[in-house]
Point group: C2
Chain length 410, copies 2
């Protein structure tokens, strides 16, 4: 079945200008795994001295590539080179013992051709699941790829890892420290889902800062919770979600723990990429920010936020530009986290919709309906129970989501 | 906006023939709360001696009617009469202090006109939320209703409590005990949802068996877990869900604890009504049964079942008749409950789809695609970890769901 792929109406106007990061080289191949006429294998070659951190999906049916990365991520010797190899078109998930064989074959080949230890080669696969990965195509390609490497490959890298994404996703932040400038760049794919593919979010971040492994991991884990762990398209979770960050250290500028400027820069970059992922949600016509304020604790805040973000009734109301705040009340009520009806305040943007267990006195349906015409919708819920806040991002739920996901696999 | 309401393609061919239950009388009124030209208030009048049990929504934003029922349900003196009053068209939820006033006004009126204690009057409301219930319309109607009561009102009762349901839901089971025949009947509404209404499932069960209050409550709670607590349309939970069961005792036949025949009869009736609710899910085109087998424990089994049943990716695949078993793998993986990839067996109907962490050797897409054309779809997942099983029912997710729920409120 032919499909007309239209770019999300929420897409940014263009891919940003992203400079090269010293110590990071890219190489690409069109291995023909599934797609024709485009690159589908990306290799990031990282100079000796590069520290790598990662966070991964918690799915109990996660891929061998993820399990392999998890095992390797704790290695502490960065005096050796490293590499990240990613293919699109096949996720190599739920492929029995063949899955492990494919991961080992691909990572061993990278290890040999680059002459770096196997334990420093990280891999990801994204695409169809349950089908054997034709890893020989990737291995053949890898043998030719290394000769043709470039520092200026980030735009091509963003395109190579796309599956059903409607646009490539990239971001850059320059951070001025007391010792000079460092740069953080990143690319992401996901979470467009289309039969027969499954949503997978893959994110690769690179910086020329010099950051100790444990410190890098702690920045990544902490900021990931407030960015990539605070988005959803439909509440479904991939078996392959991977966020890897590489710090080459080649700026010569050292970043220590609790560096506020670095943390803010990385947060800003990861937030930007997370928003780009949500804005490419299938069928998305509106970008939705959910703020939970004054929850009893952070866990409660997140539970309420997710309950609202993943409610089909809330998401369809937003698609229909319906200021149906009763569905917000429902989503809070069903979440299982603490809420007291009469303390809840609900806002659309800055408009107070409900308080004291009822609609706010000055609110009218007309005001709400006018607000819902915006492309970016902000819903805030003040629980009045504590001091914990969180922000979560999602998109609306349109009939395009159904038609994209219900189409029979061709 | 005018709406053409079509009856669900999964609806039963007709409403069953349901006999009167001795000790139960009905009365109706068209109070004009929201709908015109139909009854919207139902009063069930229960003779002295009737025992009542109930289970209710766990939502933290549940309605005053639910809170009021919860407070009354534990009263043990059944020597007095009792009543259940239900209105459709307005849910009286999130209506501030007015909500409580309305419930008190309605239940007090019933108490006065029937001369039964206030503590024996149970009420439910279903319909729009956040709008003040015009309870005076109901009170005016109640004063006229009592004179006109009938034993033969169950079909009219099923119709009166409908909101966006496309057909009335009723069921009957006759149970032959050693001492003679008893009858259990029931009606249900839900869980069609349409702007601006919110899904509410209301269920009223009546039997002429003589059952002690605690025994009745324990049958109801236990069987509710495997029936009404094992269905979903979209994973959203109402603020008003109520299941009430009244045992008049007028057959003179006593039912004690652990009566297998009574338990089977009630389970069969509640399962039938639960299925009727699912089959009226908005936009539903397929009825889906999910069996989780050999889970570590019951809680894990239920968590996996819900994760599959509420996954938009699984539900849209079923709507598209796509045997996309990878999405079942994803839903198991993300559920948080225990699973071991290589022990999972997945079946569509009796067809083994996947085992040993991969597609089953004899399975082909053609076989799966043929199976998915059925209107009733059975998905079974054998986890191979323990001995806990559960069954869950849901419907598919079609573009009609989106259009029904995204339509602007008129």
């Amino acid at each position: 079945m032919a499909k007309i792929v239209k770019v999300s109406p929420l897409a940014p106007s263009r891919f940003p200008d992203i400079p090269a990061i010293k110590g990071v080289n890219f190489s690409f191949a069109s291995a023909g795994i599934k797609y024709q006429g485009r690159n589908d294998v990306m290799l990031a070659i990282l100079d000796p001295g590069t520290e790598i951190a990662g966070v991964f999906t918690s799915s109990s049916t996660r891929s061998f590539a993820v399990i392999d990365c998890e095992e390797k991520i704790h290695l502490k010797d960065s005096s050796l080179g490293a590499a990240i190899v990613v293919n699109s078109g096949n996720a190599n998930v739920f492929t029995g013992s063949k899955g492990k064989i494919s991961v080992e074959a691909i990572t061993s080949t990278v290890s040999e051709v680059l002459n770096i230890p196997l334990s420093r080669v990280f891999s990801s696969s994204t695409g169809v699941i349950g089908e054997e990965l034709p890893h020989n195509l990737i291995i053949d390609a890898l043998n030719k790829m290394v000769a043709d490497k470039t520092e200026h490959g980030i735009f091509e890298a963003a395109k190579t890892i796309m599956t059903t994404d409607t646009y490539p996703k990239g971001s850059v932040r320059k951070i001025l420290t007391e010792e000079g400038e460092i740069t953080i760049v990143g690319i992401a794919k996901g979470s467009g889902m289309i039969a027969p593919n499954m949503a997978t979010m893959l994110v690769y971040l690179f910086t020329d800062a010099s950051v100790k492994k444990e410190v890098l991991q702690s920045y990544l884990s902490e900021i990931n919770e407030k960015t990539f762990n605070s988005i959803s398209v439909d509440g479904d979770t991939s078996t392959s979600d991977t966020v890897l960050m590489a710090a080459t250290g080649q700026s010569g500028i050292r970043i220590e723990k609790n560096d506020k400027i670095f943390s803010q820069g990385l947060t800003s970059l990861m937030t930007d990429l997370a928003h780009q992922v949500v804005k490419d949600g299938e069928g998305a016509s509106k970008f939705v920010e959910i703020n939970i304020l004054n929850a009893k604790n952070y866990s409660d805040a997140k539970t309420h936020a997710k309950s609202i973000a993943n409610s089909p009734l809330v998401k369809t109301a937003i698609a229909g530009e319906d200021p149906n705040w009763g569905r917000i009340v429902m989503a809070i009520g069903k979440s299982g986290a603490q809420a007291e009806r009469d303390k809840i305040k609900i806002f659309f943007g800055d408009i107070l919709i409900a308080e004291n267990g009822w609609v706010a006195p000055n609110y009218s349906e007309e005001i709400g309906a006018q607000y819902m015409k915006n492309t970016a919708i902000k819903i805030s819920v003040d629980l009045g129970l504590g001091v914990a806040n969180t922000t979560f991002w999602t998109c609306d739920f349109t009939s395009d989501y159904i038609s994209i996901n219900a189409d029979y696999r061709s």
